[in-house]
């Protein structure tokens, strides 16, 4: 048994060594993708384009506008002269936020009456709008507080200030709310999924197309031995590719790694088993490379979109959360983000590790069974 597996593994490695173009094809595109996606995947919001309509022209109105200008999150792109221009700027997506201050703003503010300026936000992208609103609220409520304190000083001179409860946020593991720290490990997990599923499914299907699979089938090799003989070399290649992409991404984007590298290595190995299982399973269902391509597309996109890479699983409806139980990437994201940023070990990650192991074994077993059928 081991002799036959050894021979198959040897054959795969020989084949890879002779395919010089493959080395380029396997390494360069993932590295480019790592860099591009690392930059692209962010929910952070800077330089929100803002238009201003100031009909009051008072010190107060200028003060409020200047706080937006100096905050760093907003960039004032235009000064509107009338409400129509504000509407046009937002309609044409030239501005995401508009600050509209009516005449009489300062006067009402001084009298202690509510003097609402209007802040219009384009809600088309709800997430950007929500975050922009958060920054708007920070600026406006700070300003309101200062105005209120001024007012209180004048109205209730000599009395203690009104009681105030404030909040003291302590962001753990990522003190600057840096989006890259969250997404770069996620991109590593994604690229591993795409690379390894494509690699394995295409390799086996190509053998079927070229006809070398028939040659293997007439040898005394058993399905389990065949699957193992394919798994071992692709596991090694997958691990090397993941290490390459992870190393490049971590160094380029300067992502901290606070955990235990061996925990990550264990998690990555278990993840690779499941991902290889998916690739092999696809290859047993498809008879041509074109089919394999379409099936990969069909399988990879939902796996990745529903993994918690960017859309939080806790916001999904209950039955979708149940479905994520069979998604290996969901577990691996917890493992890779946990080891990179939180530095947690097996004591915390054991449920994810065992789930990955179970999924890997199940998927590989299924491809052994399917392969036996396709031998007929």
């Amino acid at each position: 048994m081991f002799g036959r597996i050894y021979n198959l593994v040897l054959k795969e490695f020989l084949q890879m060594r002779r395919d010089t173009y493959a080395r380029f094809r396997l390494t360069v595109p993932p590295l480019i993708q790592m860099i591009i996606f690392g930059y692209a995947a962010t929910f952070e919001v800077f330089n929100v384009s803002t238009t201003v309509l100031d009909l009051d022209h008072s010190q107060e109105s200028r003060e409020l506008v200047s706080r937006f200008a100096s905050n760093g999150r907003f960039r004032i792109v235009s000064i509107a002269q009338n409400p129509d221009e504000v509407r046009a700027a937002i309609d044409r997506s030239e501005a995401t936020v508009a600050i509209v201050i009516q005449a009489g703003f300062a006067e009402e503010l001084r009298k202690g009456q509510s003097a609402p300026a209007q802040i219009i936000v384009d809600g088309t992208n709800s997430n950007t709008a929500l975050i922009a609103l958060g920054y708007v609220d920070e600026i406006v409520s700070t300003y309101a507080q200062e105005v209120g304190q001024d007012l209180a000083r004048r109205l209730y001179a000599g009395q203690p200030p009104p009681p105030q409860v404030s909040i003291e946020p302590r962001p753990w593991y990522n003190p600057d709310y840096n989006s890259r720290w969250f997404f770069v490990p996620g991109v590593i997990a994604t690229l591993t999924l795409v690379m390894v599923v494509n690699l394995t499914s295409f390799a086996v299907v190509r053998e079927r197309e070229v006809g070398t699979l028939e040659q293997i089938m007439v040898t005394p090799i058993r399905p389990l031995e065949f699957i193992l003989g394919k798994t071992i070399p692709f596991f090694c290649v997958g691990l090397a590719l993941t290490a390459l992409v992870a190393g490049a991404g971590t160094l380029w984007f300067q992502i901290p790694f606070v955990g235990n590298p061996f925990v990550l290595l264990l998690g990555t190995s278990l993840y690779l088993l499941s991902v290889l299982g998916i690739g092999l399973l696809i290859s047993t269902v498809c008879s041509t490379q074109q089919q394999a391509f379409a099936t990969n597309f069909f399988v990879i996109n939902p796996l990745f979109t529903l993994s918690g890479f960017s859309f939080p699983i806790s916001s999904m409806p209950a039955f979708m959360q149940w479905l994520s139980i069979i998604n290996p990437m969901t577990y691996y994201l917890v493992v890779i983000r946990g080891t990179f940023l939180k530095g947690v070990g097996l004591a915390v990650l054991w449920p994810q590790m065992s789930a990955l192991a179970a999924l890997g074994v199940a998927l590989l077993a299924m491809s052994v069974l399917r392969f036996r059928k396709s031998l007929d």
Partner: protein
């Protein structure tokens, strides 16, 4: 180009599809399934953030603050802890995204110095959720603070001063800030990209599988004619799929639709041509030119989600990456769909993305017709 030959190929394809009800079922059911999966799963709304509370004081005032958090629809208290170790375990294990810690001298401080603070520990590994949760927590505490102020003033028999409201907020186009409204059009684009790839990939694959490739190569049909004849029937199936997806988006997921059906029809057909062309290109070149097909694969698979502006705003990307997004076909369709759905834009507003899609269709058409080699080697 000989239209008779195009028609012959198209007719042959239609007969083939018709006689293979299983693959027809797949082609019609698949977009349904993907729409359901992604439509329910893709959601950026942050509600019911799981939090834990650690009340170190246990006074009446600290309890009422906890109640305020409990009442907020944005938070869900999943555990109450008794020490920092438990808080750390809950956050490390991912059970809680935030912890509210009330200091032991909270109400004393508030009474004596008129100012007190509440600590919120955030799991900032997910910076977006953390940032938004912080905003919600801020709002809860602000309301609480105002209530305390009102009570104090009332007990002193004073009138409450007018709260200095400085600004009011208006959200346009998506008043409730539902992420669904802006995500659903993007999902339609993604599903159509998937379906297009699936549809055309089968057509060439089938010829190889059944051994009819030899026959096809020996006919006088040219590469252009073959491509046109193969894409045409799938264009109609694709339009059916598109209608299905868009119907689900509007009637099932209730995405607001403010544009004109004609605009939608024109742009969707254009996008479908591009998507089918890319699918045809990949399947025609996958055997002979592994490199070219790999590049096409790379351009379609992940960028459809990551670089199309579907989830991540393109204007927040660094300029070189923004330049790369111009190569992604779904970028234009996502822009178009969002504009038609949410802003009700018409054809005249969408001249640029439509022109870009048309140019894309042209380039893909030329590449795809050339990718098919009339050889068996």
């Amino acid at each position: 180009m000989n239209l008779r030959r195009v028609r012959a190929i198209a007719r042959k394809e239609i007969i083939q599809v018709w006689r293979d009800p299983r693959s027809l079922m797949i082609v019609l059911l698949m977009p349904l399934m993907q729409m359901a999966l992604l439509g329910y799963g893709v959601n950026l709304d942050i509600k019911h953030v799981p939090i834990c509370v650690f009340d170190r004081e246990g006074s009446q005032q600290s309890q009422s603050l906890m109640k305020a958090f409990q009442a907020s629809p944005y938070f869900q208290i999943v555990e109450a802890d008794r020490d920092y170790e438990a808080v750390k375990r809950a956050i490390d294990g991912g059970r809680c995204k935030m912890a509210v810690v009330v200091p032991p001298d909270f109400s004393q401080d508030l009474a004596a110095t008129n100012s007190a603070s509440v600590q919120t520990i955030l799991d900032a590994t997910d910076d977006n959720t953390a940032n938004i949760a912080r905003g919600y927590a801020q709002a809860v505490v602000e309301t609480f603070s105002n209530d305390v102020q009102t009570q104090r003033l009332q007990s002193m028999g004073q009138q409450q001063p007018n709260p200095p409201a400085v600004a009011e907020y208006r959200v346009w186009f998506n008043e409730d800030l539902e992420s669904r409204d802006f995500v659903i059009p993007g999902i339609v684009a993604m599903v159509l990209a998937l379906v297009g790839a699936q549809l055309t990939s089968l057509t060439i694959s089938r010829e190889w599988e059944r051994g009819t490739m030899e026959v096809l190569v020996s006919t006088p049909v040219t590469r252009m004619e073959l491509m046109a004849g193969k894409i045409l029937p799938y264009f109609f199936i694709g339009m059916l799929d598109a209608a299905l997806c868009l119907t689900i988006a509007v009637f099932w997921f209730e995405a607001p639709f403010r544009g004109a059906v004609l605009t939608l029809f024109v742009t969707t057909s254009l996008f479908l041509v591009v998507v089918l062309g890319v699918g045809y290109f990949i399947s025609a070149s996958i055997r002979s030119q592994v490199g070219a097909s790999q590049i096409a694969l790379l351009v379609t698979m992940l960028p459809t989600t990551l670089l199309s502006g579907f989830a991540f705003p393109i204007d927040q990307m660094p300029p070189p990456v923004q330049a790369v997004t111009y190569l992604v076909h779904s970028r234009y369709y996502v822009t178009i769909l969002k504009a038609i759905f949410l802003k009700g834009s018409g054809l005249s507003d969408l001249v640029w993305p439509i022109a870009a899609l048309a140019a894309y269709a042209l380039v893909v058409g030329i590449l795809a017709s050339r990718a098919f080699r009339k050889t068996l080697g």
